[in-house]
Amino acid sequence: VGSEPGANPAQDGSATVSAPAEPRPPLGAWPRLYAVVLGMLALEIALLKLLPSLLTPAP
């Protein structure tokens, strides 16, 4: 399982884990999910910036 220190196991095949080549899966719904997460972040930052004036309007 092991290899000499300093050797590159990707090169000599001695790595403790193998590196199987598989086709990448299609993107599917992931980009939309990423947009939701990042959109929520932008909304949260904007709301937090406005928080003092939103919660404590001048009389």
Binding site: P5, N8, Q11, V17, A19, P20, A21, V36, M40, P59
Partner: protein, 569 residues
């Protein structure tokens, strides 16, 4: 603590430990011990990720942080959702394809074994130290509640965590964390409700929010570009992004949580769930701290929240402490009167009177801060070895002094179980890395039983190291900051070498190895000789590794045949 508190505390802890033991009893192979199980769904993994990051320190220290500095600490988490998206899109599919147990195995595939073991060693050091803090924080609770010396409570809690982790393994860690998160959320909501119920009879809640705003506690976002300020929008977005990328992408205590799942989609969804819930959750805990601060504007706070040190100072220098108590009482009384005028001005919608009263309150608050600073000086003078800081005691003192019977026990149970949860995940990861990245390469012919024994032994040894560090943790600043400062000393170079592995195809193993050492040296110099905020250490360490890896590759080029294996990575 009343008998009901002890009953609630004992019952909750027994239920959690028993559940962990029950779920972990089927662990008989090294693989199930180290990895967890493929049947865990994304919500279990997501809650496990949240629970691993939110330890007892979060619950004890973040409200204290809000009490001192308001909501600004939330900016620390702004980089997290971006990091979750990047990791979900780029890193998780690769780790799954390679069927890794630890993140550091990737570095051997891409570079060489010594780079893998160097980075694994950095993880062991940083996480070992952070685990010490994760034991120290709840030990603080036990010391305050039971009056036992911190040395004993550290040892006792550490021992309980070690036994629980060694028995349960990674599978029990993930399962138990789901239950613990439910208890933690219940506790946080209860704490907020109690704080509001204590404020409402003294000041209408709308006016209480105004008061917190007038004292600057609602200022959450700082747009300035200063690098010597710890929390700004930019430090959070960029420095925080690097810290969170490194923490979730290269820290085995997190990687182990999402690699335990079956299909890759479960791990990706778990990270996105964390990206969605983290900021609202941390904001809520900070709001609990602001509520505690507002309560202590209306009711007199103690001269110091660190009652044990205050008592020692009072015994040594009684006249000085008494004088400070009198000044503190007088300043609080004048502030309380100003708050009454402020409330009347708000009710009458009198903007001029409101501004005048707010200025008086702010001045009195500044005076009270000055008195607290003098108290710390007196404590230090009375006992030079004393730790006079009290921000980590604020929330605990509030709970013990003002919560109803039963709820005190629940909150102490929440803090202790959160500590055991986060710490058991860390110890499990330390044991896994020790076995997979050091024991396995050294003993390639080891049987499964030998690997399981080695994993249990390594977990126990790391537990002992963590307890040792916990005994010296009292010397540190605010705990939540201490944890993140320790992480930031190591995470930048760790992230840099992973990014080099993913995106810089030309970089050779030898260049990567020396680049990590140069990155660590750069971060060490910044920490020692500059005023740069610690979040920027992550950016600096990462940039130095990437830049020097490219330069060093000119001197140590990658063998052309090594690039052939690249496609699979």
């Amino acid at each position: 603590m009343t008998r009901l508190d002890w009953l609630v505390l004992g019952g909750t802890l027994a239920a959690i430990v028993g559940y962990g033991w029950w779920k972990g009893r089927s662990v008989t192979t090294a693989d199930s011990y180290l990895r967890g199980g493929a049947d865990l769904r994304w919500w279990t993994l997501g809650l496990s990720i949240v629970a691993t990051q939110a330890s007892a320190i979060t619950f004890l220290s973040v409200p204290g942080q809000a009490y001192e500095d308001g909501l600004g600490f939330i900016q620390f988490y702004f980089g997290l959702p971006v990091a979750m998206v990047l990791l979900s899109a780029v890193l998780v599919p690769r780790f799954h394809r390679l069927k890794l147990t630890t993140a550091y195995q990737f570095l051997e595939l891409r570079f060489d074994r010594r780079t893998r073991q160097l980075v694994a060693l950095l993880f062991l050091i940083s996480r070992g130290l952070a685990s010490g803090l994760a034991i120290y924080a709840p030990a603080l609770v036990l010391s305050a509640v039971l009056g036992w010396p911190a040395v004993w409570t550290n040892g006792l809690l550490g021992l309980a965590t070690i036994v629980y982790t060694v028995l349960g393994g990674s599978r029990a860690v993930s399962r138990t964390q789901t239950l613990q998160m439910a208890v933690i959320l219940t506790g946080m909501v209860a704490a907020f409700a109690v704080a509001l119920s204590l404020i409402a009879p003294q000041l209408p809640l709308g006016q209480a929010v105004h008061l917190a705003g007038a004292l600057g506690k609602l200022n959450a976002v700082d747009l300035t570009l200063r690098t010597d300020t710890r929390y700004t929008l930019w430090a959070g977005l960029f420095g925080g992004l690097f810290l969170q990328l490194a923490y979730f992408g290269t820290d085995q205590s997190q990687v182990q949580r999402y690699l335990a799942g079956g299909p890759v989609g479960e791990s990706r969804m778990a990270l996105l769930l964390n990206g969605l819930v983290k900021i609202p959750m941390q904001l809520f805990i900070l709001c609990v701290g602001v509520a505690v601060f507002t309560f202590y504007q209306l009711s007199p706070p103690p001269l110091s929240f660190n009652q044990a040190e205050l008592s020692r100072a009072r015994a040594a220098l009684p006249a000085e402490v008494r004088a400070l108590e009198e000044t503190h009482q007088a300043t609080f009384t004048s502030k309380r009167a100003a708050i009454t005028r402020y409330s009347a001005a708000l009710s009458a919608r009198d903007a001029v009177a409101e501004r005048a009263a707010a200025a008086e309150i702010a001045l009195a608050e500044k005076g009270l801060k000055g008195v607290r600073a003098k108290v710390r000086e007196v404590m230090k003078r009375a006992h030079p070895e004393a730790d006079p800081k009290d921000s980590d005691f604020i929330f605990l003192r509030f709970v013990l002094d003002h919560f109803p019977s039963g709820l005190v026990g629940l909150l102490v149970a929440v803090i202790l179980s959160a500590a055991m949860s986060a710490n058991s995940a860390a110890l499990s990861a330390l044991g896994t890395t020790s076995v997979v990245d050091f024991f396995d390469p050294a003993r390639p012919g080891a049987t499964d039983a030998q690997r399981l024994r080695a994993a249990r032994l390594a977990t126990a040894v790391w537990g002992a190291v963590a307890v040792g560090f916990a005994w010296s943790a009292a010397l540190l600043d605010n705990l939540i900051q201490a944890v993140n400062v320790i992480g930031s000393l190591f995470y930048g170079p760790m992230l840099g070498v992973f990014l080099a592995g993913f995106f810089l195809k030309k970089v050779s193993g030898r260049a990567a190895f020396w680049a990590v050492l140069l990155g660590e040296a750069a971060v060490g110099l910044c920490a020692r000789f500059s005023d740069v905020g610690y979040l920027w250490f992550n950016v600096i360490g990462c940039a130095v590794v990437l830049g020097s890896a490219l330069l060093l590759t000119l001197a140590f080029p990658r063998p052309p045949e090594a690039a052939g294996a690249e496609a699979a990575l």
